[in-house]
Amino acid sequence: EMNKPGGPGPSEGVLANFFNSLLSKKTAINS
């Protein structure tokens, strides 16, 4: 899967999934 230069590519959804997963991941901060 290669991105097309200059335009939205198939990785756009992968990126959104990844960062949304990061957002929803519970933050495990020790207090």
Binding site: N17, F18, F19, L23, K25
Partner: protein, 167 residues
């Protein structure tokens, strides 16, 4: 991941912090700006007191620069371990001498990668992650791979896979 691309992309990421526009490698080699960014990311850990340990105005003295960089790196390693319960033993720590003495882009990229991991795992991670999601796709991809490299080893319990499948 190409390291020059890593450094270039993470410099762009750093520019998303208020007042950090136009940041170049040469602005980072004394560790002061990175320490301030860490204070911004997690002020409860990288406190005002911690900041006082970083010497400002070190000029061209590379030994003082490396001394500052060492304190920054140690602070970050401790933050992962003590605050995030996340092991980064697999991650090759940057060569601080190469950063302090030569402003090496490859090593600087790895240093900024460590800061990135703090930002996307800290209590205020939402603002940092959303800022990344507003960046151009090419940069987002490099940042995603940089985060994965930090998080996807040693079966880290909090690891997030490429497509969220928990690999």
């Amino acid at each position: 991941m190409e390291s020059n691309s890593l450094c270039e992309s993470l410099l762009k990421w750093l520019e998303t912090f208020p007042g950090r526009e136009g940041t170049k490698i040469s602005h980072l080699t004394d560790g002061v700006l990175m320490a301030n960014v860490l204070h911004q990311i997690a002020p409860e850990y990288f406190s005002e007191y911690w900041l006082t340990r970083i010497k400002a105005d070190v000029g061209d003295n590379w030994r003082l620069k490396v001394s500052n960089l060492r304190k920054v790196q140690q602070g970050v390693v401790d933050y992962y371990q003590e605050q995030l319960n996340q092991s980064i033993r697999h991650f090759p720590l940057p060569d601080l001498n190469k950063i302090g003495e030569h402003g090496d882009a490859v090593e600087m990229g790895r240093m900024l990668q460590l800061l990135l991991g703090c930002a996307v795992n800290c209590e205020n991670k939402q603002q940092y992650i959303e800022a990344i999601m507003n960046m151009e796709e090419r940069v987002q991809k490099v940042i995603m791979e940089a985060i994965q490299e930090l998080m996807l080893r040693e079966g880290s319990p909090g690891a997030v896979g490429l497509d969220g499948d928990g690999r």
